[in-house]
Symmetry: D2
Subunit: 379 residues, 4 copies
């Protein structure tokens, strides 16, 4: 229709609010409420595995966290997790003046709400020793009471073994945290080595919140341990992670045969995981690579342009996942840098007559010093 240049100046009503009024003089103004919704995080599965979004490390008021357990379940539901574990510290309970210390309670309180909202809640605790060795998460545990180590006398190993005796899955947390070496560097230590040899250690946190422990990635790869990513949340997830940026909480992507606790356990033991934090993913080459190819789709050539007898072909490359991939051309003649934002597409071009372009995915780590390299087929 005809519009004048002043059209834009005619938008004179609020975009923000409206209201409904009942007959009793109560006006509801729900419009600036956050909607009650569970965000779907889109990450495809592959090879018959589902990709489950898991966070096995968070705290409540039952240790040094600041929220009631139901808040953790609510966060998991809203933020699209499939699986979660509350892992309050066994040996550190600063709220004990006000809160009765019982390391089974966080799980018991969250249990119903998780069940009713289709969240797989796994029982856990954090075994909390001085550094080194520091902290270990024990998940899939039984009654917490059975393995509480006497804080003063227990040997570090004894504290971990008590959980192991219950057939817990045990992983080492933030290995580079509060290290007591002079230069701040962190190293592989004897206790962890013993736990590894005794097949008690199942994984290591490579991402803890916004920290990336790069050496830990090599340790996982070299010893076939599960690569773990966690929030280690004490405060409120939505205050640390800027969801309005399209960000997500740090997590472990578990490639499971089914959406069940048993399948998660089996996948962890077989090390079928990739850790994810901000725009980075880290894991064993096999899994990082499969995750990339399951997420990214390349169109056949949709356009060709010939100039000075040289023909350039155009392709659309789509990232169907909520992951983020930044790619740099390693070989072939084509677009040099490609950024695949979550659920978005890019156009790339390549000189005619090539079978593929080879890119390094600089946001995907398969070792501390090595990124994933991928081939983009040109058809």
């Amino acid at each position: 229709m005809f519009r004048t240049r002043l059209l834009v100046f005619l938008f004179i009503f609020s975009t923000f609010y409206c209201y409904a009024q009942d007959d009793n003089g109560v006006m509801s103004m729900d419009e600036s409420r956050f909607p009650k919704k569970r965000q779907i995080i889109r990450i495809p599965g592959f090879d018959g595995y589902q990709t489950l979004k898991c966070d096995f490390h968070m705290h409540t008021i039952f240790s040094d966290g600041q929220v009631w357990p139901t808040i953790r379940v609510q966060e998991a539901w809203q933020e699209g997790l499939d699986v979660m574990a509350i892992s309050d510290h066994i040996e550190y309970t600063p709220h004990s003046k006000d809160v009765v210390v019982d390391h089974n309670r966080a799980y018991e309180i969250g249990e119903d709400m998780a069940a009713e909202n289709n969240i797989i809640l796994i029982k856990g605790n954090e075994i909390t020793r001085n550094t080194p060795p520091g902290h270990f998460n024990a998940i899939f545990i039984g009654d917490s009471k059975d393995y509480i180590a006497d804080r003063d006398n227990a040997k570090d190993k004894q504290a971990v073994m008590k959980a192991a005796d219950q057939e817990a899955f045990i992983f080492w947390n933030h290995p580079g945290w509060k290290v007591n070496s002079i230069d701040g560097s962190y190293e592989w230590i004897d206790l962890v080595d013993e736990l590894l040899k005794e097949k008690v250690l199942g994984g290591i946190e490579v991402f803890n919140g916004f920290k990336f422990y790069k050496k830990a990635l090599d340790w996982c790869v070299d010893n076939n341990l599960a690569v773990m990513g966690s929030t280690d949340m004490h405060n409120i997830v939505g205050y640390s992670y800027n969801f309005k940026e399209g960000a997500h909480r740090s997590m472990t992507l578990v490639f499971a045969k089914e959406r069940t606790a048993q399948s998660v356990r089996e996948a962890l033991e077989e090390g079928r995981t990739v850790a994810w934090s901000t725009k980075y993913i880290a894991g064993k080459e096999e899994w990082v690579s499969k995750l990339f190819y399951a997420s990214v789709e390349v169109s056949p050539v949709f356009h060709a342009k010939t100039r000075n007898e040289k023909t350039t072909n155009y392709y659309e490359i789509k990232n169907n996942s909520d992951l983020y991939f930044e790619m740099e051309l390693k070989s072939g003649k084509g677009t040099r840098t490609v950024t695949l934002y979550p659920q978005s597409a890019q156009v790339i071009s390549a000189t005619e007559g090539q079978e593929k372009l080879t890119y390094e995915v600089v946001t995907a780590f398969v070792r501390s010093d090595k990124n994933l390299v991928v081939d983009i087929p040109l058809k």
Copy 2:
């Protein structure tokens, strides 16, 4: 790890910016730039059809729009359209003092950029008469010069028929706009009836920008015309549509056998479309219904709770699309209201022993006075 209650107060670095510097004293600060990306709008296809996102009605400086044609292509690419038509007014060219009037130019200027970015650009124009009858869009047209009606002398019908002779696809725009009836109501008119009888009229705009012409929906349903939705954009799309809200531009969803201009034309002629604006969709019951069932997925019962011998089952209902569905329970015992936000899930519960719940989708219109009714199976 141990954290004090003050942890959150330690986040003291900007989340917003960082910078890179080259050796020549030029510092780049790209970080507050919008990323160059094409958003994928997720709407599944069905029955072997792809759902193409189309906008067949927009303007440039070649009539009364305020942007160069390449901006329209750029918008289409960023905002996830598959198909677009620039439809500048034939008989209204207020910029003619500065811009040479040639109704083929907008298409010619946008052509290469569209081709290189995998946007299907369809040639069009808006035939612009007084109201009634008002405006008609002609798309899939040939040389504009061949059917430019003399503005002063041409009969309204003649102006439309000249485009029809070129085998254009013709639809009636914003039928309720600037009506000259006293009470502001808009009605079916003789010219349109003639065009219909002569099989010249292919569709009617039910959504124009943020307007919903409800009567036009009934006219389309009763006469098997394509239900159309358009932006009719003159200014900048991103200034009218608040994309940070997760909103999208108004558009026509076309269910096409292939992602080609020919398939789009065929689907339009067969009326395989649904119009989409803000949170509303409108169309023939068959297509609105298929679109809903293709988008929404219901889990088997994942949890059951028995209280006073009454068992309630829990189900997860997922909206895998970017559409928005607000549902109210019509029959069955279960959750009374469900809001399915784009790409999110909800939990619904239902009393055991029922085969389904029946909901009215209050945001999906199949007639001016009728919403889609859907069955949610309970397994």
Copy 3:
């Protein structure tokens, strides 16, 4: 500089993240963290009063809330409050199996953090009776132990009077909540009338979260009680209030001589308050009016346009506050509707030769059925 039409397609780097790496293989990825900052809510004072942003009604795990008290202080700091009171239920402590019941603790735990962050923390509790009368907040209280009414035996009035004896400031909460009348209407009740006559009642909640109890506004105006607005938050403020929308939590604006607890108390007793929720404000005409004129600024005429011997003058009208005003012209010839978004400006025009335009501010209530009317001077 020269740019081609494809320029926009060159933005190929993430806007979101960057990273810093230390020497020990720990990479920090802070970039998607929320910044640690206290938002300034801009609302001017007037007549020598400061406008303090206050929320006197919220809960923690010490009654039926879901967060530790420090979270409430952190929220207040981030969200720009000056003054807060935690008001856990005296007679309702559903977490008592895990949390030791002590109604002084929430205050004690929050005290230091509030002091260190310049938040005025006022001690409070919610006296929780059946409906009617329902709930009363007592703030500026002494030792909670001294007035805990025996839950089973205490008369409603007795429970309130015990707090009154401590010289608490007492207000009636959400008067229309869970009313037991058949038609859901809520009315003035005897107990409240007694408390009023005995000068024990100081105010009534007109806004509770997203509810607007309109009748309560009239009761406050007619009895010179403080008009109160609160979140009554049990969950997390940032999950109920969509701050990314520029929304703010519901609150009471207190016009105080100084930024001290004493000044707040004095202002409450004199009823110098306006309640604020979503885009609405409500209060006595005197204070709502002064708040409007302190917030809004009108420029002298900056442009005049004469057409057919009729001259139209242009003015800029600025809203220097974070309040929101929607205005409809009541008398005078000029712009008919003006929406003053937070911290933004509009252009209005008026026929020459008028001294003012008179608008009704439809988002500002001075009675249940009356909006503020303002004069916009034309110079």
Copy 4:
């Protein structure tokens, strides 16, 4: 009031949309429209100067831009500019096949809309030569026709002098752009030196879009030239600048005696400017310093804490502007890093008995290699 842990799951209505319907079957869905509003950019003045937000460098379809001039005025209004100049290239008009070349038209077309919206529109053009010297902006010009240099034959200097003869204010654009030196470095050149000596050169762009030409800052400081910042926009401002991030367009802050074109001209000639892009500001120390102290406010000590006989005082530091300051402690004992986000506050602490803390503002440049240093008084 009593709420169960499931309360949050009761929010089941859309926060996004609502609709109004008229009697004629036209439903309006305005709710996802962007509001029509002019954002106020808060930057205080000082010493009797107002801080005007100015962008003197942008393009339209009359050279190589992609929008009609009114879009530039609309952007300026929405984005809070006080002053703007459209500066289309004289010697580069790639749209000339479709657009009649007339370098006065962009100004003429934008003039009324600017006047009606209180935007000061200054006439300008970009004198476009090969590199070096590259491009110069001439603003406050007369009739463009009088100084159009013949593109093929005119000497670079002649082209500039013709504008100078009209008493234009002339500044050098993006001095480091497309330099033809082998190593990409950019240097002071003879022509510019001549223009400087002849008092024809008035300023240099230190910020051009997202580029920071650091050497140019030194040249401005050493030769008392105006430090300029511009968007040099060709596309759409809102597509390059991510306003939802709280970002703003690059601009020149002009410290003017009045909000008039004359005052702007006078301030430019006296070099009373600071350039602003993303989170950075750059300018002469005098003006950057005054801008900082006008924007930032420090409270008296509001809290003191004594531990082991050492007392720490707490202060609130407020940034009342939309500028961004990142500060690192240089001397004194107190908070080591402070990030002052736009319109927000921080708490800082300092050991008792000091008169001040001294910080380096790492986001404020007074030379290419020097940041502003500020004293924060402790009272």
